[in-house]
């Protein structure tokens, strides 16, 4: 689709250092139709690429491993995991927090960047929202299966039952049920609603009956009416405004699981902002991990531009520093509080039996993002990709350190312990990646991975004539006429 030759790729570089010059959000010689062609083209390829099948085979096999592990767990008992007393929460909760954290990027990009008028979000928000849903699906599995009697999980919901009894609303776990449940629902709504116009595009381009009916049903008969767009935009704005506090609340509530307890290393007021910063950090890292190969494979460099990657690197740098600040604040407070249990927990984290996990975390989360200070390194997709994977590793370890190292040595030294995961723990975790990638691959194959309607809306062609903007206030003044390509 690009008009330039393969040799000359400089037009793809829209990164820049001069803040007075706004970067173009879509580069190359694209018009509305070419955007539709490119995005729908991915879904409409008549033959599924072999690489997709290979990846799908791997990820769906891993998904089967996940289900096999869950089956074994349910039939045998929680004892198949490495849990014990004192460490009664291990991989399952670590994985839960890890996946929920990843599941924050999508809504953050969609909602918060929308409210902040960061229009570069349009190229990546659909993708990130999809990722959010899949991460939340993975996250949702773990609290469900980690309970001792899985078949009674519904007791956590306020459903009238034969015991005439209700759940205990003082428990942070119950807050979690509501927070994660609401988050999953709202993310799904947001994702689906944003996709309706694009599904209509796919419907209108459908060449086969099945596609026509499938996308026709999913797009609910969307006919691009401006009267509909009016309400659609309002609903989108409202959802964004609702999702913004929601996304901040979800990880805060997850952090309450720890902060509300009385365990040293858990009982700390810094957790909500610390967890939210970490969630954004890991969420962006996962978006980068997925988006770099995807844009390469499907030739989307003109829509998901170098500038997009650079912006995400900057966000990772900023949130990485916040997380680093939180780590050091925890140490300071542990010392400053004069609480000997708290002080020991942190000494133990850094120099005790789990020191290896602690320093892995610090290296990946605090040291690695520092390379993004360099413009050259952050604009190199290969470097960025590797760094994003390391950040994911580090963020997993962060949760491991918080959950396991704090529990392993609490108040009474006689009940201290050392937690070791079993092979079942590890395979369940690996299997959850299988599920994540399976869902992701299906998404890439069957749904529009870029919000076409939104990208078109930020293209210069959409703004040739603009008297009296609608009050909801996207800021358009920044597109200079000379930038029209």
């Amino acid at each position: 689709m690009s008009t330039s030759t393969a040799a000359d790729l400089s037009y793809l570089d829209n990164t820049g250092t001069d803040p007075a010059v706004r970067a173009r959000l879509v580069v190359g010689d694209n018009d509305f139709h070419s955007i539709t062609e490119k995005v729908c083209g991915i879904v409409e390829q008549p033959r599924t690429p072999p690489a997709w099948w290979v990846l799908f085979a791997i990820s769906s096999s891993l998904t089967l491993v996940l289900f096999a592990m869950i089956g074994y767990l349910v039939t045998t008992g929680i004892g198949v995991w490495g849990l014990q007393v004192p460490v009664s929460w291990g991989y399952a909760i670590v994985n839960f927090v890890f996946w929920v954290g990843i599941g924050h990027a999508g809504t953050l990009i969609s909602a918060i960047l929308f409210l902040l008028r960061q229009r570069w979000r349009t190229s990546i928000n659909r993708f990130a929202e999809g990722m959010t849903i899949f991460a939340v699906v993975c996250a949702g599995i773990f609290p469900g299966i980690h309970i001792g009697r899985v078949w009674l999980a519904y007791w956590l919901f306020p459903i009238p039952n034969q015991m005439l009894m209700w759940p205990n609303f003082r428990s942070p776990l119950l807050w979690d049920v509501f927070a994660v449940g609401t988050y999953a629902t709202v993310s799904l709504l947001f994702w689906y609603m944003g996709m309706i116009p694009d599904l209509a595009s796919l419907r209108d381009r459908a060449k086969t009956r099945i596609r026509y009916y499938a996308y026709g049903l999913l797009s609910l008969g969307w006919r691009s009416s401006n009267r509909h767009w009016h309400r659609f935009e309002f609903a989108y704005l409202l959802l964004a405004s609702l999702a913004t506090p929601l996304v901040l609340s979800v990880h805060s509530v997850v952090s309450f699981d720890f902060a509300v307890s009385i365990m040293p290393g858990w009982h700390t007021t810094i957790f909500p902002p610390y967890f939210v910063a970490g969630a954004i950090f890991s969420g962006f890292a996962m978006v980068v991990t997925l988006i770099i190969p995807t844009r390469k494979i499907f030739g989307l460099e003109e829509i998901i531009t170098a500038r997009h990657l650079e912006n995400m690197a900057k966000i990772m740098l900023a949130t990485g520093m916040m997380v680093g600040l939180a780590y050091s604040t925890e140490f300071f407070i542990a010392w400053y509080s004069g609480n000997r249990y708290e002080a020991f927990t942190f000494l133990n984290r850094a120099f005790g039996p789990y020191a290896w996990a602690y320093w892995t975390m610090v290296t990946c989360n605090v040291v690695v993002p520092q390379i993004f200070w360099s413009r050259r390194l952050r604009n190199n997709p290969a470097v960025l990709w590797v760094a994003s994977i390391l950040i994911n590793v580090g963020m997993w370890f962060e949760r491991f350190v918080i959950v396991v190292s704090s529990l392993s040595r609490d108040y009474l030294p006689t009940s201290w312990g050392y937690y070791r995961p079993t092979i079942i723990d590890v395979l369940t975790f690996v299997g959850s990646f299988g599920l994540f990638f399976t869902l992701f691959l299906l998404f890439v194959r069957f749904l529009p991975i870029i919000g076409m309607a939104e990208v078109k809306g930020v293209m210069p062609q959409a703004h040739l004539d603009r008297p009296g903007h609608r009050g909801h206030g996207d800021y358009h003044g920044d597109i200079a006429a000379s930038e029209v390509v």
């Binding site: 629902t185 026709g216 809306g457």
Partner: protein, 188 residues
Amino acid sequence: MSERTAPAAGEPGALYGYLVEFDKVDELLVGARAVRDAGYTRWDAHTPFVIHGLDAAMGVKKTVLPYLVFGAGLTGTVGGIALQWWTNAVDYPYLISGKPLFSLPANIPVAFETTILFAALTALVAMLALNGLPRLYHPLFTNRAFKRATDDRFFISIEAADPLFDRSATRELLESLSGRTVEVIEEA
């Protein structure tokens, strides 16, 4: 209304309205203003993405959606707190950690989440309901050109049901715009 005989309005074959296609955003905006100024009410513009300024050009009234969402959110807050109060303090009270049966601090997170949940569900459902969606069939879908309304073309449609609709006058109005040919859409 003009010399329309059989079939009656809404029946297959009856006239649904006219449709005109535009290539460019500014042509559409000019057209929309013209139709608005002519006083039509049952007409619409169709665009592949949101066009800023089009609402003003069309004279679209602000939707009531925010009020509905606010009401739903309020219901969520009250419902969330009431649920927690009734279940934990009234219907089945039990003594937990020496704490009171009902104390607001512990009930804030759940009440917050129910607020968001109710409001968000309402935002989507009410948006669809106010838009009359899902409506899988629509006469406009019979037009081949209209398929590009979700791609890169812009349209204005005027319904025959509009009180001002007149086969020739409305056609003239639409032809005076800088769009392509005016298409006749029939019910099917």
